[in-house]
């Protein structure tokens, strides 16, 4: 331990400043008596102390010092008042600061979510847009066979024939179902005054797009804490979808849900039903309790094992019966519980223009009356025409009492043969009467597709004018409104040029390719050689208008730049949402580091 002598400076200073305890002072003085060196130091120290007291006393702050400080302070920090002061003061406290930062972060995250469209509760519009982009509507095939020149022929071009059926129970829906199922634990089923009510609703809607509607229904269901139980859809021949969605929602949200769903399309039919199963429920519940008691009693009986074996067997039998009943009742109660917990909404959806036909069947019927001297011969000749492409469906020869002979032959002719056959038949005798009739039968729907096949028709008349005929034609329409018609014509070579010229009058010719095929060895009649012309007619979609010129360009440019602005806005939002937490974290880190350095110094 250090002696007084070693630490004499400290001891002396403390003594001069009156900070020594009595014991310490006496110890020091004892030492000073003994030690001459320390005594000398003591003397010097006393003098030093005196000088310091004298000198520094002059230097110390004057009496008005505090007032000056106060005045300076008041001048530099003016008194704030009211709310500003309160807020300012509040912001100085750590918990308030943390809360504020947390709130800001939360807001940023929410903003980010809004912008990136993550949140299902946010504007649906964008999502719908994305859906459209990703899942283009299924093309609606509508082909129209337009055949000419056949006696009786049929053709079918039903591209949309394939009937697709699908049944979806989407995975995400199941997940939501679980989430939703967890809810009722907190929000009990709507037992109004402990009543057990089962609510059901059916809605029939006509909507624009099935997939869209299902998406929206799913979203609505999520919003109302429900889930989509099943979805099924069926594709019609004309490409339209028809289906059913079964949604379970909390009964208290049912009305709101229905309100929303109704907005999806045209409401065709709606029913809303409530079934009160309170009585049955509690009856069953009571019966269940009784059955439990009964079961227990039977078990007790078995345990005591008194009585005959036959009796025991009887008891055993009874027990199994009771148990079965219990299980049935429990199942029933469970079923009711589940029904009460969620209201069932069955939504039947049908896309608009459900009845629009997928295809048309064109039948041409020709009636030909021939006058001939030798009916029997011609009758046989016609029958001789029969081949795979020319089928005789009905033939009768009648001879009346006056000796007149009449024959009636019905022939089914393949389209490409019809002209030849008709021509040959005409040669057999004098044509008395000739009638051709075209019948159009819509397939996969009723009604008419009113969209322009007019061009194809015009082509046909044009071809007929030039002594040719239409070999085949088809018509189809895109979902975005573009229409295509394909017509294959056959004209004699000599009329080819005339036809091509008249084609120009119909529209703008975009593409022409000519191919000539000569068969060696065959006799060529240059003028009458068949020229096959395949013409594709199309009309630009009416949704995307085909416009050129300054205005259209301007409009397109504006639309694009607006799109670009929206996109960049979105990206900025995303960037802010991503960066802001980092900025806050970095600022906080810098601040903490500063504080640490500050404290160390």
């Amino acid at each position: 331990m250090a002696t007084i002598h070693d630490e004499i400076d400290n001891w002396l200073a403390a003594d001069l400043h009156g900070e020594l305890s009595d014991e310490e002072r006496s110890a020091l003085h004892t030492h000073l008596v003994d030690c001459a060196a320390c005594r000398k130091t003591h003397q010097e120290n006393k003098l030093m102390n005196k000088i310091l007291e004298d000198t520094l006393a002059q230097e110390k702050a004057d009496p008005a010092f505090e007032q000056r400080m106060l005045a300076g302070f008041r001048q530099r920090i003016p008194q704030r008042s009211g709310l500003v002061k309160l807020l300012g003061d509040l912001m100085h406290f750590r918990p308030v600061q943390i809360t504020a930062v947390a709130a800001i972060l939360l807001v940023l995250v929410e903003v980010g979510r809004v912008i990136t469209g993550e949140n299902p509760a946010l504007p649906r519009k964008r999502e719908r847009y994305v859906e459209n982009a990703q899942v283009p509507e299924l093309p609606r095939p509508a082909s129209v066979p337009a055949q000419a020149g056949g006696l009786a022929k049929s053709d079918e071009l039903a591209a949309g024939r394939s009937k697709g059926e699908r049944r979806i129970v989407t995975g995400s829906d199941i997940a939501t179902a679980e989430q939703a199922a967890a809810k009722p634990a907190e929000t009990p089923a709507p037992e109004v005054g402990n009543r057990k009510l089962i609510r059901n609703a059916t809605v029939q809607l006509e909507i624009g797009s099935f997939d869209n509607a299902v998406q929206k229904i799913t979203a609505f269901a999520n919003e109302e804490h429900g889930y989509v139980a099943t979805t099924s859809s069926e594709k019609q021949a004309n490409g339209k979808l028809r289906g059913q969605v079964i949604v379970k929602v909390l009964p208290e949200n049912l009305d709101r849900f229905l309100q929303k769903v109704r907005g999806l399309g045209e409401l065709k039919n709606q029913t809303l039903g409530t079934e009160d199963v309170t009585k049955a429920y509690f009856d069953t519940d009571a019966r269940l309790k009784n059955a439990h008691v009964m079961e227990q009693r039977l078990i007790d009986m078995l345990k005591t094992k008194t009585g005959k074996v036959a009796d025991l067997l009887q008891v055993e039998k009874e027990l199994s019966r009771v148990r079965e009943e219990i299980e049935k009742m429990q199942g029933q109660l469970k079923y009711w519980d589940s029904q009460v917990q969620f209201a069932t909404v069955t939504i039947s959806l049908a896309e608009k223009d459900m009845e629009e036909p997928a295809a048309f069947l064109l039948k041409e019927r020709a009636q030909l009356a021939l006058y001939a001297p030798d009916v029997e011969k011609i009758y046989n000749d016609i029958k001789a025409l029969a081949s795979q492409r020319v089928q005789i469906t009905n033939a009768q020869l009648n001879r009346d009492y006056s000796g007149h002979i009449s024959a009636r032959v019905s022939v089914l002719i393949a389209p490409e043969e019809s002209d030849a056959v008709i021509a040959r038949v005409k040669d057999f005798g004098r044509v008395e009467n000739f009638q051709a009739q075209t019948e159009r039968i819509a397939q996969g729907g009723s009604g008419m597709s009113e969209n322009a096949k007019t061009r194809a028709k015009e082509l046909r008349t044009l071809a007929e004018k030039q002594n040719g005929r239409v070999r085949s034609s088809s018509f189809s329409r895109d979902p975005d409104g573009r229409e295509f018609a394909n017509v294959i014509l056959r004209v004699p070579m000599k009329n080819y040029n005339v036809l091509m010229q008249s084609l120009d009058s119909l529209g703008k010719v975009e593409n022409v390719s000519v191919q000539r095929q000569d068969r060696p060895g065959a006799q060529i009649d240059e003028a009458n050689a068949p020229a096959d012309i395949s013409i594709q007619v199309y009309r630009q979609g009416n949704i995307v208008s085909h416009e050129s010129g300054l205005l259209a360009t301007l409009r397109r440019t504006l639309a694009q730049s607006a799109g670009a602005i929206m996109w960049s806005l979105r990206m900025i939002g995303v960037a802010v949402a991503f960066l802001a937490p980092w900025v806050v974290a970095i600022v906080a880190a810098i601040w903490i580091t500063k504080r640490v350095i500050h404290v160390r110094r």
Partner: protein, 177 residues
């Protein structure tokens, strides 16, 4: 520290202006002593105290323990004074200023000058402790609290400070004897 004092500090931290002004009245002298101890210049020391008080008011929410409020005030004043001191030294005309400051008072005796230069040679903390002691005649405990020293450290500091001064002024002291 008694309860009323504690309550005063707490109120000041929570933005009670009157409490803070009360603290200015009671503590600004000690702050001046500290600043003067470091700077050896009355005007500068006064500015430092003023600045420190303003800064203390603005950042009062940083003090979580009201008991540490005086020590915290002293710390602010010390840093502030230190900053001023450093700036003065890097200032090109600093030497002249110091000299002029040192020469300025007309009644300054040789002893005074020697005393001041001896003081200037001491570490900052020692100077602050000395001024607190001789300006305000504070007891060791209060000084320790104000300077944030641990119990008993002050005795060594003041002992060494006095000894150092004594050694430097020995010729003068001898002549006085």
């Amino acid at each position: 520290m008694d309860a009323s004092e504690r309550e005063q500090y707490r109120a000041a931290i929570h933005g009670d202006r009157e409490a803070f002004e009360m603290i200015i009245r009671t503590h600004s002298r000690a702050l001046f002593a500290i600043a003067y101890g470091i700077l050896q210049n009355r005007e500068e020391a006064e500015d430092v105290v003023q600045d420190s008080l303003v800064k203390a008011w603005k950042t009062r929410w940083r003090v979580r323990d009201p008991e540490k409020f005086p020590a915290w005030l002293a710390t602010i004043a010390r840093y502030r004074a230190h900053d001023v001191f450093r700036k003065r030294r890097t200032f090109p005309f600093s030497e002249d200023i110091i000299e002029s400051v040192e020469r300025e008072p007309t009644d300054t005796t040789t002893l005074d000058r020697q005393l001041h230069s001896a003081l200037a040679a001491l570490p900052e903390l020692h100077r602050a402790a000395l001024t607190l002691r001789y300006f305000e005649e504070m007891d060791y405990r209060t000084i320790e609290n104000t300077l944030g020293l641990t119990n008993g450290a002050l005795r060594g500091i003041l002992g060494r400070a006095l000894a150092s001064m004594r050694k430097q002024l020995r010729p003068a002291l001898a002549s006085m004897d």
